[in-house]
């Protein structure tokens, strides 16, 4: 049921991507996302696609599993595409009927938008698929560490994030259990209009909130009884250290970004497919 949502979850596998330093993965994902938005050439997207598929292969996460993660955003994707398709004006008019007009620019923006969003989701979910929540927050903490100087509570933010991330699967499982329990009591979650459906969520949301508070309480107690008192003077059991493969990954990504930009700039290849 609800456990089928794969977006943002860790996928255990043995691959070079899983072993990379989380900082590398965060920075490279950011670079990849930026590269998607700062260029417009067809060839640039081809390179991005090649790069992305290469990384997917390296990650050893099954392709099907990644595609399944796209399901929840299909609606968002459709809306974006439709809006861009009908509301962007420019270039030759390809189609016109009543208030609907499709222009050349509208079509190209819509297509590019769809590709961008898809790549964006796949790219960032690859990061979460290959990085455990704990090492992800470790990476963020280390990356943001300089902000400590201007009194940003970096450690506390990282701790909150790791707790929040840790709780996602727990709460999903809990939701699943509660849903099953209420279905077993004859609850009908599927039929009815939107108001009836929202009402049908009450028997699930109330126990879920109660359990979230209970768990938060237990966790706070457990942390306190282990003398947790924030980040001051706290050391790591496994400090993050860059290794050869991490430098290599940085290099590959930087080369990719340069390639995409160089092509967007110097290769006059803005030709349309038709």
């Amino acid at each position: 049921m609800i456990r089928d949502i794969t977006i943002g979850q860790y996928y255990p596998a043995k691959s070079i991507l899983h072993r990379l330093d989380p900082r590398v993965k965060i920075v490279c994902t950011l670079l990849f996302l930026i590269s998607l938005f700062l260029q417009k050439s067809v060839l640039g997207y081809v390179i991005a696609a090649v790069f992305l598929f290469g990384v997917i292969r390296l990650s050893r996460v099954p392709f099907q599993y990644i595609v399944k993660g796209l399901k929840p955003i299909i609606m968002l994707l459709m809306i974006t595409v439709l809006f861009n398709l009908f509301l962007t004006r420019g270039g030759a008019v390809l189609f016109h009927k009543w208030i609907f007009t499709i222009t050349e620019l509208g079509l190209s923006t819509a297509v590019f938008m769809a590709i961008r969003l898809t790549f964006l989701i796949i790219g960032s979910s690859l990061m979460t698929f290959t990085t455990t929540p704990n090492s992800l927050t470790d990476g963020i903490e280390k990356l943001l560490y300089p902000l400590n100087k201007i009194r940003v509570p970096v450690h506390e933010i990282a701790m909150m994030m790791s707790i929040a991330l840790r709780f996602i699967p727990i709460l999903l499982e809990e939701t699943d259990k509660i849903m099953k329990a209420q279905i077993a009591r004859g609850a009908d979650l599927e039929s009815g209009n939107i108001i009836q459906k929202a009402k049908a969520m009450i028997p699930i949301l109330v126990p879920l909130f109660v359990s979230a508070f209970r768990r938060a309480n237990d966790l706070a107690m457990a942390m306190e009884s282990r003398c947790y008192r924030g980040g001051d003077g706290r050391t790591k059991m496994k400090p993050l250290v860059y290794k050869g493969r991490d430098r290599m990954a940085y290099l590959v990504t930087v080369v990719y970004v340069i390639a995409v930009f160089a092509i967007g700039r110097y290769v006059p290849f803005h030709i349309w497919i038709f």
Binding site: K180, A184, R185, G186, D188, I202, P203, P207, V210
Partner: protein, 282 residues
């Protein structure tokens, strides 16, 4: 009038790294009115198995008949089935949500489409069956003690008037007294109504004296299926898979090995004591 499973297989997260076969070729038949214990270690597939019984988890392959009809047939009324096979989950008190006890217990019958009066009648009957004191009917279920919450949650399922009651570890997290109270209550339910009761547990000791039949699950497979006496005769094999037979089984077997002329199939302490005393009398 029975539940009949034929070659049930169930695989979790098919096609991912988390793939796991939770049930392997499980077949059995449970007759109406039986009091059955399902026993197994954590991860043995017992919880998965019972979630098949009311169609919450559809089997990957196999057939499941309730009163002669295969529930996986096209157009089978699953909601009606869920009213017939009442499933009480582990820590059922986590499903409580209403403002007061009575309204919460009414949730099940209300979903069956009964009138408010009928719902309340059913709820009162159910609460009475689980021995919940009437003065707390208008209390918030969140203010109750753990044991009382659990009674309310069980009543929530009973109020649907099921013909089969399935309880998944109804004693988990309760102290010994709460545990005995709940189990005695369940035994009372079975005596008072003609319900089939299926009790899931990982503790032989807990259910040995209550049930008439035990199904032992191990790593997704049905290992033994028989009366407690028959099942406990395999106490050495049970121990090998991490399940213990009741203490008395060990004592009687040890005595028999030392040459005492006694039968080793007693289940309760009283039976065992009688058996040993009989030996001294001879």
């Amino acid at each position: 009038m029975s539940i009949k499973a034929e070659h049930l297989n169930y695989i979790y997260s098919l096609g991912t790294a988390y793939e796991k076969q939770a049930l392997k070729d499980v077949s059995f038949e449970i007759l109406q009115g039986q009091f059955v214990g399902v026993i197994g270690h954590t991860g043995s597939g017992k919880s998965t198995l019972i979630q098949h019984l009311n169609g919450l988890v559809p089997a990957t392959s196999g057939k499941l008949y309730y009163e002669g009809k295969n529930i996986y047939d096209e157009g089978y009324d699953m909601r009606a089935l869920r009213g017939q096979v009442g499933l009480v989950f582990q820590y059922p008190e986590h499903q409580l949500f209403e403002v007061d006890v009575l309204t919460d217990v009414c949730f099940g019958p209300k979903n069956q489409g009964l009138s408010p009066e009928e719902c309340e009648k059913r709820a009162r009957e159910a609460l009475e069956l689980v021995g919940f004191p009437e003065k707390y009917y208008k209390q918030s279920p969140f203010d109750l003690s753990g044991g009382q919450k659990r009674r309310v949650a069980i009543a929530g399922v009973l109020a649907m008037n099921p013909k089969v009651l399935v309880l998944d570890e109804p004693t988990a997290g309760l102290d010994p007294r709460g545990r005995d109270e709940i189990l005695d209550q369940v035994a009372y339910l079975h005596r008072e109504t003609d319900m089939t009761v299926i009790l899931v547990s990982h503790s032989m000791e807990d259910i040995a004296k209550y049930v008439e039949r035990i199904i032992v699950m191990n790593q997704g497979e049905k290992m033994y299926d028989g009366s407690p006496k028959e099942v406990f005769a395999h106490y050495k094999e049970l121990e090998a898979v991490g399940l213990a037979a009741p203490q008395v089984t060990y004592i009687l077997n040890a005595l028999a090995e030392k040459g005492m002329n006694i039968k080793t199939d007693a289940i309760t302490i009283t039976e065992a004591a009688d058996e040993i005393m009989r030996n001294f009398d001879d």
